[in-house]
């Protein structure tokens, strides 16, 4: 992250400018901005390393993602308050250059975020499918004693599950006629049945490209801009891009190739920089690992599931030839129980996560409308009277 490169050269100037600004108009607007920035920082720090008294959620787990989305919603509400309330003192400031341009860019980004929300919602359906297959496998292996029938039953489900995961993963790069998970059987000849499990957002749509496009014109405000309302707009943009990026990394969605290339031009100027950069680096690291291994996304439940599925596959494979030793069977039963536990967590968490994503979606839509309205009104009032 080249963010650190800036630090030395800019830091001095930034603090200088800050002092000047505060001297110039040390009003409560500046306080609001700093408070906003502080809250953002606190919220993301908690996501990065929660305080001891808070239940720890694994990074990129379903519950962690729900928290991340809650953080997004909180930041967004405060962001809007800062920008809109400012109107009392500075009516229609957001409709004046250069802020109007920044807001328009922000709104363009939020449209892309909406499509991403949809892509991820589709992806959750895939995860739901994994869950159902894992449930079958877990319940078959949960029976005692394990016989050939259960072993094969579970093997079939595990096989479908791995295939579904790899299909979704491949579809991230190319949407082809992929056989569905069940079609490895005698019906595989029947190729006219097409689509894979992942529902497309649109033809040629790409999550990775969308996120990259969101960052194209995302530059930290410079000069005098940096101290005004441009700064929360930038902050909120970074939050939005980050949240969407994290969702896309966690949940299967259309075309994720190149997701790791997303680059956030953050700088030490903001107090939240460290926590977001920290999270970004952690996730990016995991993504790099993932690209080596190949998996259906970084959702921690799915990752764990995949590991267990591979272990259990091994067990059922060997079972076929040697039958199970007691020790192995014991281990498999433990794994099956773990798998069942993950399924339970998915059963409890996936729908609320999906609803939370929809909530974010609707919030973005509503805020966009409010901003457009404010821009329009501001544009009218600031126009010279005829």
């Amino acid at each position: 992250m080249p963010a650190t490169d800036y630090q030395a050269s800019f830091l001095g100037r930034i603090s200088l400018r800050r002092n000047q600004v505060i001297a110039m108009d040390g009003n409560h607007e500046q306080e609001d901005l700093e408070l906003f920035s502080k809250h953002v920082s606190e919220r993301f720090t908690e996501l990065l390393s929660p305080p001891d008294d808070v239940v720890f959620d694994t990074l990129l787990s379903i519950s962690w993602l729900r928290k991340l989305l809650d953080v997004f919603l909180c930041c967004e509400a405060e962001f809007k308050a800062v920008l809109m309330m400012g109107d009392d003192d500075h009516p229609f400031q957001i409709s004046k250059p250069p802020l109007d341009r920044l807001i328009h860019e922000f709104l363009d980004r939020s449209i892309k975020a909406l499509d991403l929300c949809n892509a991820v919602t589709n992806g959750l359906d895939s995860v739901r499918h994994y869950q159902k297959l894992a449930e079958i496998a877990a319940s078959a292996l949960g029976q005692k004693p394990i016989g050939d029938g259960q072993a094969r039953r579970s093997r079939k489900a595990l096989n479908s599950l791995l295939m579904a995961m790899s299909v979704d993963d491949k579809e991230c790069s190319a949407v082809k006629t992929t056989e569905r998970s069940w079609s490895f059987s005698r019906l595989a000849v029947n190729k006219d049945r097409s689509p894979g499990h992942l529902r497309q957002v649109a033809k040629k749509w790409s999550a990775a490209k969308q996120i990259q496009a969101m960052t194209w014109n995302l530059v930290p405000p410079r000069g005098a801009e940096g101290s005004g309302l441009a700064s929360p707009v930038y902050t909120m943009s970074v939050i939005m891009v980050f949240v969407m990026w994290a969702l896309a990394a966690a949940i299967p969605c259309q075309e994720r190739n190149g997701l790791s290339a997303t680059y956030f031009p953050v700088r030490k100027q903001w107090s939240w920089d460290q926590s977001i950069t920290g999270l970004h680096e952690k996730i990016a690291e995991e993504w790099k690992e993932k690209e080596k291994k190949g998996a259906a996304g970084l959702l921690s439940e799915v990752q764990k599931m995949e590991k267990l599925v591979r272990n259990l596959m091994e067990f059922t494979d060997s079972f076929q030839f040697h039958g199970g030793t007691d020790e192995k069977a014991e281990e498999a039963a433990d794994h099956a129980a773990e798998l069942a536990e993950i399924c339970k967590r998915m059963e409890e968490g996936l729908l609320p996560l999906q609803m939370k994503i929809k909530e974010v979606f609707h919030r973005i839509v509503r805020s966009r409308a409010e901003f457009l309205q404010a821009l329009k009104q501001g544009g009218k009032s600031s126009a010279p009277p005829v």
Partner: protein, 644 residues
């Protein structure tokens, strides 16, 4: 027989009882007319009793032989199909039922074996494992058969038959508001979806003949606890079918970003298509899918609604997503009717959606539906507002040539003529919107219906719209330098408005009072026109000294000349003016004629001596005839007329 723990009979007497019971059960089982359930119970009991007997035998070392034999037979059946390339259900009903019988037999044996309380019996364990293994094989096979049947017997139905209107004939008033100046569109259209509602229409998505087959597979898979496998397979194929149906409807998947970039004509046709697809998908396809799920899975409790939700959720969300995108977009006035169509469609479908997804699990879908309905309502109001703003702010730099009916007027009047069809919806949406009505019409109470429609929110908003239209037209009239033309323009336009109101359902909302008032307005403009044009012309024909005899020759000549020049001037300009409505044109000509011809005739009649004079260039008849050329919109001049 779950939960029924057998104890091993110890005494000889007990064994006799068991043997007797077994005998009775077997005899009962052979009875032909048994219900399925009863037969199942007897079979279970049979297995159970035989198990007790054989178990007792096993003490002698020859145990489970009977069971093993039965298992072997069933196993043979299952295995024989494993190497067979044919599908069982394709091979005939006998094959299928034999296969199911074999599976039933295995299941019975498994139940029986598991029901025994003998622990750590090696033979029993071996048999259970063997039976479970065959059962798994059979279940896997049944899953394939299921997919095969569901795919092979899918029924195609053509969406075109779902509606009397073919997809091609979208006759809608789709003109963009922006294009008002370029291309006035007189021809409007009927609304596309209202009249031919798609009713509840359930079709067979899978051929009815194979439903019992699918049910029998479902039954045996659920009995063997392979329900989850059945569901996943069934959901998978049905989801695909829906996806393909979606493709047949030609509903292209668009991202929100794409939708927001669509051009109006494209957008409009997509909005239409959405309205139509939404109805078919919900009323026909999903209703039928729900029925299919119930038919196949109705016996297994909530499984049916779970599967239905999984099958349909993604498609519904995708459809709703387009709606969301449209509701977000800029709310141009021309979008209004399409938005209202979408709104009404959703409002109409709410009941269906609530029936399709009644459970808690479906609340997500229901919620999204309600949210979208609300945003479409808001967008409709916004588009309505934009329509009003567009009307009052529509500006022109140049006067509209000929003074005819302005395209803006045509656009607006033809557009609002559609409104009565959306009356209920508009009233609902506009209820809370303040109508800025300048010329408030207080309608006398002419019966409850009429007064209701003239005072409903839509009526107020309609009058507010036409009043901004009128003020705009007044502004446009100021662009004419010629005062008479200003009046012609206003007369034409107000007359047009009145005609449109009178000739449509709009009259119910505008009311007689409005019509009377506006009739008065355009007639006043007609009078003003006459005064502005003709009083100066007739001035030459005025009788200065009533009562005295004829004018002197020179005065007469002068007056004649003045009249002719003025008349010809009027002729030259006003032949290029236009009164598009033939009746109105006729009326104005008659009243002009009455005035001018009468004055001319009187003038000439008072001076009979000079009539033959060359200075009388036009005869009365000639003038009368020339007046007929006015307002035809094609400029003429009286050639060879410059003789003085």
């Amino acid at each position: 027989m779950d939960g029924c723990q057998s104890t091993i009979p110890t005494s000889e007497g007990d064994l006799h009882v068991v043997a007797a019971a077994h005998h009775i059960v077997k005899a009962l089982g052979a009875t032909k007319n048994l219900s399925d359930d009863l037969r199942k119970i007897l079979i279970d009991l049979d297995a159970h009793l035989s198990m007790i007997t054989s178990n007792t035998d096993s003490k002698g070392g020859r145990g489970f032989l009977d069971v093993e034999e039965r298992l072997k037979q069933a196993e043979r059946k299952i295995l024989s199909w494993e190497s067979d390339p044919r599908m069982i259900w394709d091979s005939g009903p006998r094959e299928a039922s034999e296969y199911l019988e074999a599976v039933d037999e295995i299941q019975t044996l498994v139940d029986g074996l598991q029901g025994l309380s003998v622990h750590e019996n090696r033979k029993q364990k071996e048999l259970i494992h063997r039976a479970m293994s065959v059962l798994q094989m059979a279940m896997s096979r049944l899953e394939e058969e299921l997919i095969h049947i569901v795919v092979q017997h899918r029924q195609q139905f053509d969406p075109k038959y779902m509606s009397s209107r073919s997809t091609q004939t979208y006759v809608v008033y789709d003109e963009s508001f922006v294009s008002v100046e370029d291309e006035p569109a007189e021809e409007t259209s009927s609304r596309n979806c209202s009249s031919d509602e798609i009713g509840e229409f359930i079709v067979d998505l899978i051929h009815a003949d194979v439903i019992p087959d699918i049910k029998s597979i479902a039954k045996v898979m659920f009995t063997s606890n392979y329900g989850p496998e059945f569901c996943e397979a069934f959901i998978g194929v049905r989801k695909e079918a829906l996806e393909q149906y979606f493709a047949i409807l030609d509903t292209e998947k668009l991202s929100i970003e794409d939708v927001l970039k669509l051009e109006w004509t494209n957008m409009s046709s997509k909005m239409n298509k959405w309205t139509w697809s939404m109805k078919i998908i919900v009323r026909v396809y999903l209703a039928s899918e729900k029925q299919l799920c119930d038919q196949v899975l109705g016996d297994f409790g909530s499984v049916s609604s779970f599967c239905f939700l999984e099958i349909s959720k993604a498609t519904i969300l995708c459809l709703l997503n387009f709606g969301e995108a449209v509701a977000m977009g800029p709310h141009q006035p021309e979008k209004l009717l399409r938005l209202l169509d979408m709104y009404e469609t959703l409002a109409d479908l709410l009941r269906d959606i609530d029936t399709l997804f009644p459970e808690e699990a479906g609340s997500f879908v229901r919620l999204q539906f309600h949210e979208l309905l609300e945003s479409l309502g808001d967008s409709s109001i916004a588009a309505f507002e934009a329509f009003r703003v567009a009307i009052s702010s529509n500006g022109s730099l140049y006067p509209f040539p000929g003074g005819g009916v302005h395209p803006l007027n045509k656009y607006v009047m033809n557009y609002i003529r559609m409104f009565p069809e959306y009356c209920n919806t508009l009233n609902l949406l506009l209820k809370s919107q303040h109508a800025d009505v300048e010329d408030q019409v207080i309608e006398p109470d002419n019966g409850p219906n009429l007064s209701l429609s003239t005072s409903c929110p839509m009526a107020c908003h309609l009058r507010s719209i036409t009043s901004s239209l009128e003020s705009n037209l007044h502004r446009k009239s100021q662009l004419y330098k010629n005062e008479a033309l200003q009046h012609i323009f206003l007369m034409n336009n107000i007359h047009y408005m009145v005609q449109k109101v009178k000739g449509s359902e709009l009259r119910l909302f505008f009311g007689d009072e409005w019509i009377r008032k506006h009739n008065g307005k355009f007639q006043q403009h007609a009078k003003n026109y006459e005064r502005a044009t003709w009083s100066s012309v007739i001035y030459f024909l005025k009788d200065d000294n009533p009562g005295s005899s004829s004018l002197s020759k020179s005065t007469f000549k002068e007056r004649c000349k003045g009249f002719s020049i003025a008349f010809e001037e009027v002729y030259k300009t006003q032949t290029s003016w236009s009164i598009p409505d033939p009746q109105l044109r006729e009326d104005l000509r008659i009243s002009t004629s009455l005035k001018v011809v009468l004055a001319y005739r009187t003038f000439l009649g008072r001076n009979p001596a000079h009539i033959e004079d060359k200075c009388v260039k036009h005869t009365v008849e000639h003038v009368e005839k020339l007046l007929l050329d006015l307002f035809e919109g094609s400029p003429r001049s009286l050639r060879n007329s410059r003789r003085w």
